[in-house]
């Protein structure tokens, strides 16, 4: 019997293929966006983990010479012979690939490409021609080394080999860049200062550097994935609701024929589960495509913004597609739960079709929840901090706003009814009001999509304005040149001295300031900086004080993270404590910065030489200078970049960063339009008893259809009007809360009314398109069907 019932149930989909497609499409789309984002995140995380695992970067303490100097091999041997359980690492660029040399015999467990216990390969690793471990794509990029390439799951763009071979390939015999300190050390170890006084030891980092820095970025993506999935569920809800409405009759008949209710419910649930799995599978496959398409951009963003290497190639992970399927199943359960529940409670002899007005119950609790959520969001904005709290605030604001939509719309519609003159307008308002409960979910989806659009586009556009302004300030030099070593830098400086108005050396080294990773710069006292740089906060006469070495400048990230305001003292290096003179906006990287005047920098870090230079000259002469640097000094083109090119590069990184966001945004809007169409289709069938009398009173089907279209547009317009403040609230939260937490900068908020107008137009168009098909069906409805209402023949 089950089979008979099942085939009867499935017959519905057979007769309504469009409904089936909608259900599958809605679920598949939601799952695709969600799992696509998850795939990107998983790939990135795997890359960070591979980086950490292959290099032991964060998990071990390290000994370095400070100021980026090499450690002589003899010092390493000295440390070993003094009882230090340390292991040498050398790093350098071979072509474009980062080559890392390790000593597998002393490396702490798990460092290096050889899995523990795989000692067999050790001989090959150490033997004459040696081995280089890297991903296939990295091996392909390596210049010829003579060593055997071995494909291994190491960090992207990184190749690992024996330290002896690495020293040879990098032409740095006897040099070591850092020593990994094993967590377990022998009892007899002598103090570091006694053995090698120039070296300093840093503690292992808590967690993975790249993973920590990029956490916020991935949380961002996840939030968008979840939003898309939620909107997808609105569609599923619409489709399932419609299907259930239309099948009430069939269910009643089946039960009258003796099919047990429990069996029916189970079969329907089973049917939905199968559909969910099918849609989930399609969604996961689509998600893979989405991820594969977006991943190169995301990888480029992460590299540009955070310096984190992420593979551009996507691996299929079981955990990922399983979670995609689970999301599809769970989502369907959520979306269809209500419909199943009401079906289970339907009395056997109930009218096969509910009167639509039964739905029109205004729930007071919805208002209460909406107000509570909005209040919570406000409270979080005022008193909360942290990225998670930021997103919680966003979530509360969006859900609260969405829940508040139906009561607000009801209010407006009641007002419209009160103001309406004449029978037809009054009927129009009343009927619209009456339809509201059936449409409210779809309208909420539209509200969320529009608010997200307004919010994100405001954020991105504000960011773009700020960022381009920042680039103009910051990239004042006409040409930037990088020398390959100190000798070339000297020759170069002498060469350009008379050909430019100024040569500004860029001195830098990476360090830790107040416990945060930071870059320390040495800046020459020059008008270029005075004229162009703008401060968020500064002391009077900041440049003069800086030039005298009376303090430092820091970027906004350091100011926010370490809580270092003006006048706060900063330990720049052992024995050098200086106050903060100014805080500048820095939208180029997430890491802290400290700027010293050149003289202080050179005195404090005498071993750091400038290899990068900014050149000031007549813009018209830039090309000629490039040419002569290339021809006469032999500088490669890759070592010179002009202002326009570097700006274009920065902007392209910027665009890529938000390309993903924009794409997700547009997709959510499309999905919301879909949800409206499904809701209208659902309602259309239920509304016949309301429409038939109006038709019988003389309103043509064509006019009724036109009124349907108008209604959709009015509702969309009202929703859009309410979405605007919500979207602006979202933009504010993104700029003032999430951005500060994620990137360490707070951006000024700009408004873009034309963009909002265009978006509103788009939303109206979407609603119009969504209503078009139901309206067209109404205009073509056979009069017999409308007459049937009066014969109770539905």
């Amino acid at each position: 019997m089950s089979f008979t019932i099942l085939s009867a149930l499935l017959g519905h989909w057979w007769r309504n293929p469009l409904q089936l497609i909608t259900l599958l499409a809605g679920l598949a789309l939601g799952t695709a966006l969600w799992s696509g984002v998850q795939a990107i995140n998983a790939e990135a995380r795997a890359s960070y983990d591979a980086a950490a695992a292959t290099l032991g970067g964060g998990s071990y303490g390290q000994i370095t010479a400070g100021q980026g100097e090499a450690i002589p091999q003899a010092t390493y041997i000295g440390l070993r012979r003094a009882g230090w359980n340390v292991s040498p690492v050398i790093e350098g660029k071979l072509g474009t690939v980062r080559l890392v040399g390790i000593d597998p015999l002393t490396a702490p467990q798990g460092v290096g490409p050889l899995p523990a216990g795989q000692t067999a390969d050790l001989a090959a690793f150490l033997s004459d021609e040696g081995q280089i471990y890297a991903r296939a794509e990295t091996l392909a990029r390596l210049p010829g080394t003579g060593a055997r390439g071995v494909i291994a799951d190491v960090a992207p763009n990184t190749a690992i080999t024996d330290i002896g071979l690495a020293q040879r390939l990098l032409n740095r015999p006897g040099q070591i860049d850092r020593l990994l300190v094993a967590p377990e050390q022998p009892l007899t170890r002598r103090p570091l200062a006694e053995v090698a006084s120039g070296l300093s030891q840093s503690a292992p980092q808590q967690g993975n550097d790249a993973a920590r820095l990029t956490d916020s970025f991935h949380l961002n993506l996840t939030a968008f994935g979840l939003l898309s999935f939620a909107v997808g569920l609105f569609i599923v809800h619409g489709a399932v609701g419609l299907a259930f409405e239309q099948r009430r009759q069939m269910v009643r008949t089946l039960r009258a024929l003796g099919a047990p209710l429990r069996g029916l419910i189970i079969l329907i649930a089973l049917e939905l589960a199968v559909l969910a799995l099918l849609a989930g599978a399609i969604g996961v496959a689509l998600g893979y495509l989405v991820a594969a398409t977006l991943l190169p951009d995301v990888a480029a963003t992460l590299r540009g913004l955070y310096g984190a290497e992420v593979s551009g190639e996507l691996a299929l992970r079981a955990s990922w597609w399983l979670s995609g399927l689970a999301m599809a199943l769970g989502g369907t359960a959520v979306a269809a739960g209500g419909a199943l529940w009401s079906l289970a409670r339907m009395p056997l002899l109930a009218s096969a079709q509910p009167r639509a007005w039964v739905l029109a119950r205004q729930s007071r609790w919805q208002v209460v929840i909406a107000v509570t959520l909005l209040a919570v969001s406000g409270a979080l904005a005022l008193w909360g901090h942290g990225l998670i709290v930021g997103f919680a605030m966003l979530g509360a604001m969006l859900i609260g706003g969405a829940l508040a939509l139906p009561p607000l719309l009801a209010l407006v519609l009641r007002l419209g009814g009160a103001l309406a003159k004449g029978v037809l307008p009054q009927w129009f308002w009343a009927d619209t009001h009456q339809q509201l409960p059936g449409l409210s979910l779809a309208l909420m989806a539209l509200l969320l999509a529009m608010a997200a659009n307004v919010g994100v586009s405001t954020m991105v556009s504000s960011f773009r304005l700020t960022f381009t302004g920042f680039l103009d300030q910051r990239l004042a030099s006409e040409l930037y040149v990088t020398a390959k070593d100190a000798a070339e830098a000297d020759v170069f400086q002498a060469f350009v001295k008379d050909r430019t108005t100024a040569v500004l050396p860029i001195l830098s080294l990476t360090s830790q300031i107040a416990g945060f990773p930071a870059t320390i710069y040495g800046a020459r006292d020059h008008a270029t900086y005075r004229d162009n740089w703008r401060f968020l906060r500064s002391e009077p006469g900041v440049w003069d004080k800086l030039a005298k070495g009376a303090g430092v400048l820091i970027n906004e990230q350091l100011f926010r993270r370490a809580g270092l305001d003006l006048d706060a003292d900063i330990t720049v290096a052992p024995g050098l404590v200086l106050p903060v003179l100014g805080i500048y906006g820095d939208y180029g990287n997430p890491v802290g910065q400290v700027i010293l005047t050149e003289a202080v920098f050179r005195r404090t870090f005498p071993t750091v030489t400038a290899l990068r230079f900014g050149l000031r000259l007549d813009p018209a002469k830039v090309d000629a200078l490039r040419m002569s640097l290339h021809d006469q000094l032999g500088l490669p083109d890759s070592a010179m970049i002009d202002q326009a090119a570097i700006k274009a590069l920065s902007l392209s990184i910027f665009e890529r960063t938000f390309a993903v966001t924009t794409a997700l945004n547009i997709l959510t809007l499309a999905v919301a339009g879909f949800a409206i169409m499904m809701s209208l289709l659902t309602l259309a069938a239920m509304r016949l008893p309301q429409l038939a009398p109006v038709w019988a009173l003389g309103l043509t089907r064509r006019r009724l259809a036109a009124l349907e279209l108008l209604r959709a547009v009015v509702l969309a317009a009202l929703t859009g009007a309410l979405a605007l403040p919500l979207g602006l609230g979202l933009a504010w939260a993104l700029l003032a809360v999430v951005n500060v937490e994620a990137f360490g900068w707070r951006l000024p908020m700009y408004l873009f009314p034309l963009d909002y107008l265009r978006l509103g137009g788009l939303a109206l168009l979407a609603a119009l398109l969504a209503a078009l098909w139901p309206a067209w069906r109404l205009s073509r409805m056979p009069p017999t069907q409308l007459l049937g209402v009066f014969r109770h023949e539905r």
Partner: protein, 345 residues
Amino acid sequence: MNVKVLLLLIWLPVQAMAQGFAGLGTAGGNFAQPQPDTVLQFPADHGPHPDYRIEWWYVTANLTGPDGTPYGLQWTLFRSALAPHDGQGWETPQLWMGHAAVTTPQKQFVAEHLARGGIGQAGVEADPFSAWIDDWVLQGANFGKLHMAGSGVDFAYDVGLTAKGPLVLHGQKGYSVKSGSGQASYYYSQPFFKLSGTLTLPEGKVPVTGTAWLDHEWSSQPLAQDQTGWDWFSLSFDRGDKLMGFVLRGAKDYTAATWIGADGTSEALPDGAFSALPLATHSVAGHDMPVDWHVILPKHGIDVRVKALNPDAWMATSVPYWEGPVTVSGSQAGVGYLEMTGYDH
């Protein structure tokens, strides 16, 4: 004989790994092979022999604390060559491994260090004698008076060794046969060291005195294909005599022994003269180890029971084995060291 080592297997190909200690039975390749009738030259032969595949300097000691507590101590440096030549820098094919251990009646302390040759991190020089890996050393102006130190995360020792007798060459003047089919190594010992120094244990420092036994052995293929491991004994009897004996377990067990008189005279004993039979086993680290033995050497009236001081003297190193101090009772009383390898299965 300290055939021990073979740990070196770590560095042999995977098939050898699969065979555990039996990997020592694989072919010697282009490496030099021990030849009978070679005359060992000292002090030169105290140093390394890079053209042989494996080599070790192995010190074990039986010690006593001020309260009479017995202790065992081990200091070992292994050399393993990937190719039969020496060289400077990272490119040298010579690899080094050190093991240090202290055994108390209750506890076993173990440490392992690995190093590349050619960069100064580990090595051996013959004269003045110096063997080292990291901060572990065995060195002195001459071979008769050595300073020895080793350490781990939770223990350390620093002791002095003074030779009270001559070197002892095993087999035919140092050419020690290891199987019926002719596998052999060069093998000599200094079994007459007096030792005094300090152990550092979690409880604190312990002054100790006792006797130590040094082995130096090198070869390229010391085991036959069918041999899977060995049981090695170095026993010092209270009367002053000493006995080195081993059983190589294979299709047919192969035994050899050296009887060392109190005056330093030695006598090599042929296959079968020496025998050792397990009396009881003890489960340690998942292996059933015979830690109680019946050892017989009829020619010299030896019929003794050899029992582990601490049955848990397991060396949890890259290639694990059992090595620890023993007590001797029966026809003679005394102390000694026992090493057991190849019990992985």
